[in-house]
Symmetry: C2
Subunit: 297 residues, 2 copies
Amino acid sequence: MTLYGGIEGGGTKFVCAIGNENGDLLETVRFPTTTPDETMGRALEFFRPHAEELASVGIGSFGPVDLNPNSPTFGYVTTTPKPGWSWADVAGPIRAGLGVPVGFELDVNIAAMGEHRWGAAQGLDTFIYLTIGTGIGGGVMAEGKLLHGAMHPEMGHVLLPHDRAVDPFAGACPFHGDCFEGLAAGPSIEKRWGQKGASLPEGHPAWELEAHYVALGLVSFICSLSPQRIIIGGGVMQQPQLFPLVREKVQKLLNGYLQIPAILEGIDSYIVPPALGGDAGVKGALALAFASTGSGL
Amino acid sequence: MTLYGGIEGGGTKFVCAIGNENGDLLETVRFPTTTPDETMGRALEFFRPHAEELASVGIGSFGPVDLNPNSPTFGYVTTTPKPGWSWADVAGPIRAGLGVPVGFELDVNIAAMGEHRWGAAQGLDTFIYLTIGTGIGGGVMAEGKLLHGAMHPEMGHVLLPHDRAVDPFAGACPFHGDCFEGLAAGPSIEKRWGQKGASLPEGHPAWELEAHYVALGLVSFICSLSPQRIIIGGGVMQQPQLFPLVREKVQKLLNGYLQIPAILEGIDSYIVPPALGGDAGVKGALALAFASTGSGL
């Protein structure tokens, strides 16, 4: 059986897996994202015993990343605020260390690929996979293709209405202060309320406010991209009270302007968690690996 | 020579033209958008003497429109606040009256097609054509295809930061109040300052504020869509002082986060007026007509 490698390289943790073309995960390892050398070293350690059997490896990395195959920094993380990772080569060490073709994408794009192939976006051609956790990022499939454009979307950095009378928190994005990520990612929740989101009770006003910002972000994406569905993963969205609140607020904010039945009548299946749960990314990395077998780097 | 018909159906005026496959306009007529019956009647009157020579007609209509060919209201304007035009059939009367294949698209999408074929977006695969006039709307080409998704983008209705201490104007959108269109379209400028934008002098604070909102909208679109270029047409953008102000503010708001050379080093050719000027829409309608010859409705 042909085997493939998948890497979901997040800003907090890396997940590496060996799988087959049905998306079955045969072996998996998770470890924290430390320095680039150490982290890529641990990934190589995991794959090396199987190097002979691997047809290719797909990597989805946290961003921003360079996705331009003609660029000298293709396969790099670029201007991240994450210490040590600015202009770090992610694809290079894997390609050199294993001698196999390597596919490289943004982490949210591979999660979108995973959901498209086996999850909540099967049969759709325009949808968004959004993650709200340590940061906020989004992958977009537009008319059947992953959207790169000039680089790739950076959906966490849209600017939103921010009523400082209601929420005086200035925002935590080092580049933009109170952009979507600066207001609504996990670290912002923690800074605003003085404790981690996971420890805030379900009825805490933090969740109403969080749902408000998520809904504002979604309205921006709906108006810009007209998605057929929005899938939202990430640690913050593990709070089960958020989905109903977000759906309700999106409908209120849009106020019936968009005659899209999926929004007007089917919002519960329009804004959904990933069907693959926490495996969307690493399974998508396998899907990317299949796609990369021939072309290779 | 094969001739084609093009209709740019705007909320304020209609432009109808007969042209060839080089985009040459052989005959053109412009008239105000009044009632659907009268307006579509005038369009038919213009084309009818040439009905025998026309291979097809392309129509770009103001939105929102129904672009789903399987829908009973395909070719209609849907929920517009424009009096009389809610659920008005635009494609039907042309198809029935001329007996030729008819292509139907959103007005900003045909302008994007025109700029892609003959204008400022030649050779690009991901870009935005935005218009700022009576309303604000945007057409998106994403990875080589016009973006429809669930319906089509409605870029004028993204929600933006609005500092009421600086700008107490509540916004003029009947659906959303202070969305992008509610803050920055022509009628909003007029309501805020008590006179039409065209009569405000170049150094009036209106333009600094207008450029601020346009820049906020563009940042939202850049983060969501990662366009390779943004083309902005429409009456408001006829103010020549706006382009330099908008470019400067976009760079300041993004604050170097996105490592996109076109933005960091080439902003003057990243945010541009339409190369086809006021003809982008009607020439795009011709391009749509060519594309519709075979398939037809």
